[in-house]
Symmetry: none
Subunit: 419 residues, 2 copies
């Protein structure tokens, strides 16, 4: 079954607010094994809303409309729907009574504008409102179905869970579609998207033939590159089994061809990976940051409970701070030696078990004769003091962000080696 | 002219990432007087991408496609475009050479997969890549036009500004659409969106009658709340004059009713505002961060040339670091006294002219008997040592982000007072 989401509102087209509704609906449909194949945004314009609705009904089996059910002149979803369904709008006195009672309970009089919210395309089923004044609508169109819900997220999500999802699942069962979709995201750092695609290319092609499991790649900036596995099974148990089996294959392929680049799964970030490892070993960390200027510390502090293993850090932006506070020997500050000295210095200064550092050139200008993108990560852990040299692409913000995740990844690998 | 945005990627349908590209494009098209009338999301499926493209070309004059230009097997925008345009894909050897050179400059060999990115629908014009490996495409279809750009935001925005926007504006002029829209964003911190709406409500209504100048509000998280003024003039000079006149009125209203809350205009961030003021006075800054954990330092370092006025910082996450390194007296660390001591301590430790500090409770749990959202900003400047007490709303990331911008805003106001 193809489901299409149509989000109505000029503010979406103008970019004044993000469309969190379509994202939420897409995620929750997928989690229930229902595919949303198309999303549309359209403004508060009758002709164009009608066009968007007709497009959706032409290519999809079900349409979920969000927005345009409010009480003002620019809320015209009801009228557009009536035109597309070729039925009149009729005023539902039961809805009028309900809305009037909501206002009375708040000690207010219902403005006449709210009467508009009681106008319903003839033949529509009502989804009673519980959180706002606008009811939702369910309209059958031949074998297809249209749902209309308010654009206010907490009204929309309530109606989705209470009415739309059960109805869609019932329709899917009736249509004999009982398959269940489940997915797993593997998060990687250290290989390019194309290198990943090449490593998994053969498997990608094998899977394409069957179609039960699919692979997709998603470059996500400082969140790394994600590899998403999606499995479609006859039931939940089958889907889970397919996915688990494929995950083993893909992990082995990645590990064999690209090494230890998977740092997490699903919602697990690089910070989470670090937090788990440090927590398990019961050791503390301090960071010395130059090029990243606090990015690393800031990501670590984003983890609730970081105080158990994170001591803090020094942002040694000025060279004098490196020399005076971190005891880096005077000389070029973008060098392997400086990175190592920073790691040792911050470990000592903040009395932590591990010291991690980054120094480099963010650009646009070069520094100490090194081009933008030259980065050194220093690590002091037990008796070991070492560095990793990197050459990172991109502009200033990108180089800084990549430096941060690269440094955390270097620490992750070192902790795993030490286990 | 009707412009339609088509964002390609199964991850959008599954709700795994928000579609920030359509929002950004919608905002920037509108700011230049171009309407985006429809947006679509479609997954990485050839048949459905073709359907989405044909739908867009049926109802719009220009289509901007984002995504699906990567080097992997699921990047199929090029092939779908070729089908819709009814032309073959041809390999462009110039693009091959460019991509190969990009890999060589990073000391790596180009994987064969990247060759896919050199396949171009016959007749397309290339938008040269400057930030990633995928070039953009411009394809004419009769009187209509298709632009295809990568989904990676910083590649997309670059190509939009460099190639798409100038081309769309030229087409609009050719079509005889000569009115010019210009806009100005005033960035504020320290008043709520509804307080701003109330302060400007009367003016808002006056302007609505004429329609030449409009006001919109846009809450933008740690970027503050933006007030956007848009003027439509008969030509550029007329639009600029209308806008300048209105800006004077609005600035005066805001200043009169809400005080000194405007920190910048257009692209000017709070960091820029700080950089300008510190640079002008020739003084240096050091920061001590607890709750923000490096966020403030990181935002300051994002400014190229920050080394002229930024010494660095200490992320004193563990209380011991506050006591030992910053010489904060032992006791509760979320207090006005601790904030002031941190500011004095970091100024002394890093030998800067000014010390700025933040301590607070990010939550979810309370600390030292203080609820989440309790934040103290400390400031040491010349003979003055002072603090600002804040109670911030939201969850952990929100409280941390608001703390960072609030601290910088406190510094901005103090610098202006001292002038």
């Amino acid at each position: 079954m193809r489901v299409e989401i149509v989000a109505v509102g000029t503010e979406l087209l103008l970019g004044q607010i993000p469309d969190t509704n379509s994202q939420w609906l897409g995620e929750h449909l997928a989690a229930n094994g229902i595919s949303s194949h198309f999303h549309q945004h359209v403004g508060d314009n009758h002709e164009r809303i009608v066009l968007a609705f007709r497009t959706a009904l032409a290519r999809s089996d079900a349409m979920i409309v969000c927005g345009g059910l409010g009480p003002t002149q620019d809320d015209i979803t009801r009228a557009a729907l009536a035109e597309v369904l070729n039925v009149p709008l009729v005023r539902d006195e039961q809805i009028v009574a309900t809305i009037r009672a909501m206002f009375v309970s708040r000690g207010r009089t219902m403005p006449d504008n709210n009467l508009l919210q009681a106008d319903v395309p003839l033949g529509a089923t009502i989804i009673p409102q519980t959180r706002g004044t606008a009811p939702g609508l369910v309209c059958s169109v031949g074998q297809k179905v249209v749902y209309a819900v308010p654009g206010v997220p907490y009204e929309m999500t309530d109606m989705f869970e209470r009415a739309i999802l059960p109805d869609l699942l019932a329709r899917q069962r009736l249509a004999g579609e009982t398959s269940v979709i489940t997915s797993r995201v593997l998060r990687t750092w250290g290989a390019s998207e194309s290198a990943l695609a090449e490593a998994l290319g053969e498997r990608f092609d094998e899977l394409a033939g069957d179609g039960r499991v699919t692979i997709a790649f998603l470059a996500s900036g400082i969140e790394g590159i994600k590899v998403r596995l999606t499995a479609r099974g006859d039931d939940a148990e089958h889907a889970t089994r397919l996915l688990a089996g494929e995950e083993v294959v893909i992990r082995a392929l990645i590990s064999e061809k690209l090494g230890d680049i998977i740092f997490g799964a699903d919602q697990e970030t690089m910070e989470d990976a670090i937090a788990t490892r440090l927590g398990r070993r019961g050791v503390t960390l301090a960071v010395a940051e130059s090029i990243t200027g606090g990015l690393i510390a800031s990501r670590l502090v984003s983890i609730a409970g970081a105080s158990k293993w994170f001591r803090g850090g020094v942002v040694s932006y000025a060279s004098e701070v490196k020399f005076d506070l971190l005891k880096v020997p005077r000389g070029p500050v973008v060098s392997p030696e400086a990175a190592e000295a920073m790691a040792v210095g911050v470990r000592s200064l903040l009395s932590s078990d591990i010291g991690l550092s980054v120094t480099g050139v963010a650009g646009p200008e070069e520094q100490d004769g090194q081009p933008a993108g030259t980065v050194f990560v220093g690590l002091a852990m037990g008796e070991t003091v070492e560095h990793v040299a990197l050459r990172l692409p991109g502009d200033r913000p990108r180089i800084r962000a990549y430096s941060a995740i690269s440094a955390l990844d270097a620490l992750r690998r070192a902790l795993d080696r030490a286990d």
